[in-house]
């Protein structure tokens, strides 16, 4: 069986199934977490929902498969899931040797350090001799060791398999520092440190020791399926650029702006080109919201995480989120 055996098959499989199978993280607040009712919520989950809305017109037609960082690539390669939306860093190796392709970057991330303010540490350069809690990932541990070696410092790692165990150990004071992608650090900081600590007792140090552009991944080969994933994300960013939200999307249907008309399918053509319903973007925005809404609801001001837009602001506001023109 050659790698090309997959070509063109994925989209048909998904459509025939009538449901998108999406690999997500095993419970990270704000990105992918099942709430008390067992419903999945988060920024990564919204990517899956957007793709389902584009494909089927219904953002609920998704089956979520929680995967550990170890299992995720095998699960995608073997066809257990159609796509991964689980904080996967886009790297050259993964794009080539692992036979994956990547969508648009959902979150520009980088590995950082979270410390208790009490320690009085202002910079990661002062961490010599510290005990570091680290969640076993694919690159986190290596970046950490590299950074300390490069700066001629020593450290003691505490590595625990499950991310929530690592966090609990950090808050208990088992370690001085917790290192992970900053998105995860903010999620951790927000995840109510036990009494008498509050999120304000903790600070993310300014050093970012790696580039971690997080993007959804899918198998190499089915370009049309890849296009739908990529443009579903761009539609959310474009909607934010044009000021379309889930609340005003119905009024926006009457807009005279040609860009908005093309996006919402009032002027047909885009959906046909993608191979989905002309209402694809309307469905995404109506059911999931635009990128800004999703961000604020899951990880921004409307959530306990309180992550600032930073690199993930729109390009107009000095960030990196930039939708390719939908025309």
């Amino acid at each position: 069986m050659a790698g090309t055996a997959w070509a063109g098959k994925d989209l048909d499989t998904v459509k025939a199934r009538g449901q998108l199978v999406c690999g997500v993280m095993e419970g990270t607040a704000g990105f992918a977490l099942a709430n008390s009712q067992g419903k999945w919520e988060g920024l990564d989950v919204d990517v899956c929902r957007a793709v389902a809305a584009a494909l089927f017109g219904d953002s609920e037609k998704v089956k979520y498969v929680p995967l550990s960082s170890q299992q995720r690539f095998t699960a995608l390669q073997s066809g257990e899931v159609d796509m991964l939306s689980n904080n996967t860093t886009w790297t050259l190796t993964r794009d080539t040797a692992l036979g994956l392709d990547f969508g648009a970057v959902t979150y520009y991330d980088g590995q950082g350090f979270l410390v208790n303010k009490k320690l009085g540490v202002k910079s990661a350069k002062e961490l010599n001799g510290a005990t570091v809690c680290v969640a076993p990932g694919t690159t986190t541990e290596l970046n950490l060791a590299d950074y300390f070696r490069a700066n001629k410092m020593t450290f003691k790692p505490v590595v625990i398999e499950k991310v929530n165990e690592v966090r609990a150990a950090f808050f208990a004071g088992r370690c001085d520092v917790y290192t992970n992608d900053t998105s995860s650090l903010y999620a951790t900081r927000a995840a109510n440190p036990p009494p008498p600590l509050t999120p304000d007792d903790f600070v993310v140090l300014p050093e970012i020791i790696s580039k971690e552009p997080l993007a959804p991944a899918f198998r190499h080969g089915d370009n049309q399926f890849g296009d739908i994933i990529r443009w579903s994300q761009y539609a959310m960013v474009e909607a934010e650029e044009d000021g379309i939200t889930s609340k005003n999307v119905d009024e926006m249907l009457k807009s005279n702006n040609p860009t908005i008309k093309r996006l919402l399918g009032v002027t047909p053509g885009m959906g046909k080109a993608l191979g989905v319903d002309e209402k694809w973007a309307y469905n995404i925005i109506k059911q999931v919201g635009n990128y800004g809404e999703s961000f604020e609801r899951n990880i921004g001001s409307g959530s306990p995480l309180k992550i600032k837009r930073g690199l993930n602001a729109l390009w107009k506001d000095g960030g990196l989120q930039y939708a390719m023109p939908i025309r």
């Binding site: 069986m1 040797a97 001799g129 790692p157």
Partner: protein, 395 residues
């Protein structure tokens, strides 16, 4: 069917398909063939998939730089070392926790097991509930709970609880002073070995003499004196170097001294209390399996309860106890692999990181299996030898 004449020793002639021997071989060949087919199917698929997904294979990666740090090592290790060394560090940690666990759970389990037979109703009941509570809940849950308790209820290193100014207890573990390395230590080790050998020799001699003359000799006290005394003499002859390395808070943590880390403590504690509940049951049923007359005879001879336990009941119970004990020892070794859930860097944890970094799951899982199989077979072999040694010699 040929009619057999009486007294002839030739086998009756039967058609080959009715001959049990031939049938047996045909059946075997079919089964082995099927198993072989299944194996071939799996292996060929695996090779296909490896080729298709461009996953490397072979054990070359073992010589590459590992690049990750390990938190608790018995031998020097840094991220610049190879994967092979990282896995070795994990293996040593597994052995350390297994050996300590086996020793401690045997001691604790025996005490609890004897406690269940105590004439004191309260003590017997408490021991019974100890067994029931620890036995009926998954080990993994105990590990989580103990780790949480250890890491959440002790203060940070700067507020460490100090015991007599020598031991420092904090959520970074238990720090204690150790002597600064000195060439004399090697000689002391040698003296210790000599002491142990001498103690064993004295014990044998005392046994022989008691068998021959009936005179008891305080062999145990003499043995202890030898084991402790000889190294002490060497140390005094070497000028009694008493420089110690003290743990002192510097920056984030204690520097100097030696440490027992919380992950290790939680794992060891969890393994010991969980397994000791099973050991207690084995010990209790072993003692109950002995003929009641033995205990009564010991009491009639005027031996105290402790003496009759030590000299009459336990030695006989050992024969019943050893085989099920072996399986408990094996399970404590295998269960130590749960270390991964609470962050103690054992073999499985080290190999798991290696799987993450190299993507070579098959080779690495084979390493885990081979390592545990080796340890298991070693324990089994040792216990079987011991079992043979104490077996009842039928005269």
């Amino acid at each position: 069917m040929a009619v057999e004449t009486l007294g002839s020793s030739t086998r009756p002639k039967v058609a080959p398909w009715n001959d049990p021997v031939v049938r047996g071989w045909i059946f075997q060949i079919v089964v082995v063939g099927l198993v072989g087919l299944l194996a071939w199917f799996l292996v060929s698929n695996t090779l296909d998939n490896l080729a298709r997904q461009k996953i490397a294979s072979g054990y070359d990666y073992l010589h590459h730089e590992a690049g990750f740090q390990i938190g608790d090592t018995m031998i020097p290790y840094s991220p610049a070392d190879t994967y092979a060394r990282a896995i070795l560090v994990g293996m040593l940690n597994t052995l350390k926790v297994s050996v300590l666990g086996i020793v401690l759970c045997t001691i604790l389990g025996t005490l609890i097991g004897i406690g269940r037979l105590s004439p004191n109703w309260l003590l017997a009941k408490i021991c019974e509930w100890y067994v029931e509570c620890f036995r009926n809940v998954p080990l993994l849950l105990w590990l989580f709970l103990f780790y949480k308790i250890i890491s959440e209820s002790f203060p940070g290193p700067r507020q460490a609880i100090s015991v007599l100014g020598t031991l420092f207890l904090s959520n970074r573990g238990l720090y204690f002073p150790v002597p600064v390395p000195n060439p004399i230590h090697a000689w002391m080790g040698l003296a210790l070995l000599v002491g142990v050998a001498a103690a064993v020799a004295v014990k044998r001699w005392a046994r022989k003499r008691q068998d021959a003359t009936g005179l008891p000799f305080p062999a145990i006290r003499t043995g202890i004196a030898l084991v402790i005394g000889l190294p002490l003499v060497v140390w005094l002859l070497g000028g009694a170097p008493h420089e110690m390395s003290w743990p002192v808070v510097k920056g984030f943590n204690f520097q100097g001294g030696s440490v027992i880390q919380p992950e290790f403590t939680a794992l060891l504690f969890g393994l010991v209390v969980y397994t000791s509940a099973f050991v207690a049951e084995i010990v209790r049923s072993g003692i109950l399996a002995i003929n009641r007359g033995q205990g009564e005879a010991a009491a009639a001879l005027g031996l105290s309860r402790g003496q009759s336990m030590r000299l009459v009941l336990l030695p006989q119970a050992l024969r019943v106890i050893i085989p099920p004990m072996t399986s408990q020892y094996l399970s404590i070794t295998k269960n130590s692999s749960l270390a991964i859930a609470i962050g103690y860097p054992d073999l499985v944890a080290a190999v798991n990181v290696t799987i993450n970094q190299t993507g070579q799951a098959i080779e690495n899982v084979l390493i885990i299996m081979a390592a545990y199989l080796t340890v298991s077979l070693g324990i089994s072999a040792f216990m079987n030898w011991y079992n043979k040694r104490i077996a009842l010699r039928e005269r």
